[in-house]
Subunit: 155 residues, 2 copies
DNA sequence: GAGCGGCTACTCGGATAGCCTATGTCCGAGTCAAGACGG
DNA sequence: CCGTCTTGACTCGGACATAGGCTATCCGAGTAGCCGCTC
């Protein structure tokens, strides 16, 4: 179980988009800022656009800009935009298969194993939703040079 | 990001192992109980044995038995036994690469993005560690027929 | 000089290969138990 | 009748194919701005 690295790319890129100001920035520039594959970052940005986290501007001088302030973007938004909303633990209902499944009556309630795993997953989701990108930006702003460096890198 | 289905197999199998009593049960029987691939379930059981959650008994009439009561086995134990202890979010330190990396001084503290993701992951771990397999067993015991069915399926 | 049309270049967007891990399978080493044999 | 040895079958254990999804790439559709032309 490993999270797609596109999540890391998306998080840093969203933070960079905020520090450059409101104007759209091309995926090529954003990729160059961190030495990433431009085409693949573009794919991730499209996922963010579908999730309405960024707005894509076509044509020359186009690119991507934030759709809303960082205060309104949580870690959960980004993870779900890239990874999708499917559950991490996917119950295949093996309790209904095999000998035990044949001997058991059709189940009435939910699978207890699945319920337990969902509780943990919910805690994960809540912890992700409790942190906004603005919180991370605040931590980055402890070294005030960051904003200047990002702007000069994305001029 | 999808959890390995071996975790689901392992959880149900550990619960079944408990309901049969203390004697060792072969991986073939355990697989037949839920219609699983015997060889692949055996692989998962080996992972559980390495993590000291079950004890393997070689030879005829051998198999696997629980190494400790379900009260002492948490969901986190099972997940880490199957999935490993590597972090879900793996920071590749892209902040040190590309234009921004070249313009920035060597970082002093930890990556803020990584720290935020780790906080969420820690919440997940805590939620997993807070639930033991005995809790799930208690939920299953609400329908008292389960234990009888499991025992007759694994006779 | 002002307005308009065409063109170019740059951007996003989706369709297309490659690789790596999870999945699934197979066969060999080890071990216990039963059965045959000898005392 | 009892003890011991041999044999057999059954189990775990790890090494070997396979597949699905993440990773990476490329090319086409669309658009804004610029340049030249015309009035």
């Amino acid at each position: 179980m490993r999270m797609a690295k596109g999540v890391e790319w998306a998080l840093h890129t969203l933070l960079n988009l905020d520090m450059t100001g409101g104007g759209p920035v091309g995926s090529g520039q954003l990729a160059e800022a961190h030495g990433l594959s431009p085409s693949y970052l573009n794919k991730q940005l499209q996922q963010l656009a579908r999730a309405r986290l960024v707005v894509s501007v076509p044509g020359p001088r186009g690119g991507f800009r934030l759709a809303r302030p960082l205060e309104a973007i949580t870690l959960l938004d980004v993870v779900e935009a890239i990874e999708g909303t499917a559950e991490v633990f996917h119950c295949t209902e093996i309790r209904c298969s095999g000998k035990i499944g044949e001997l058991s009556p059709p189940p009435t309630g939910a699978c207890a194993v699945n319920a337990a795993m969902r509780r943990a997953e919910q805690a994960y989701h809540q912890a992700l939703a409790a942190q906004s990108l603005a919180d991370i930006r605040a931590e980055l702003d402890r070294s005030p040079a960051v904003r200047r460096i990002v702007r000069s890198a994305l001029n």
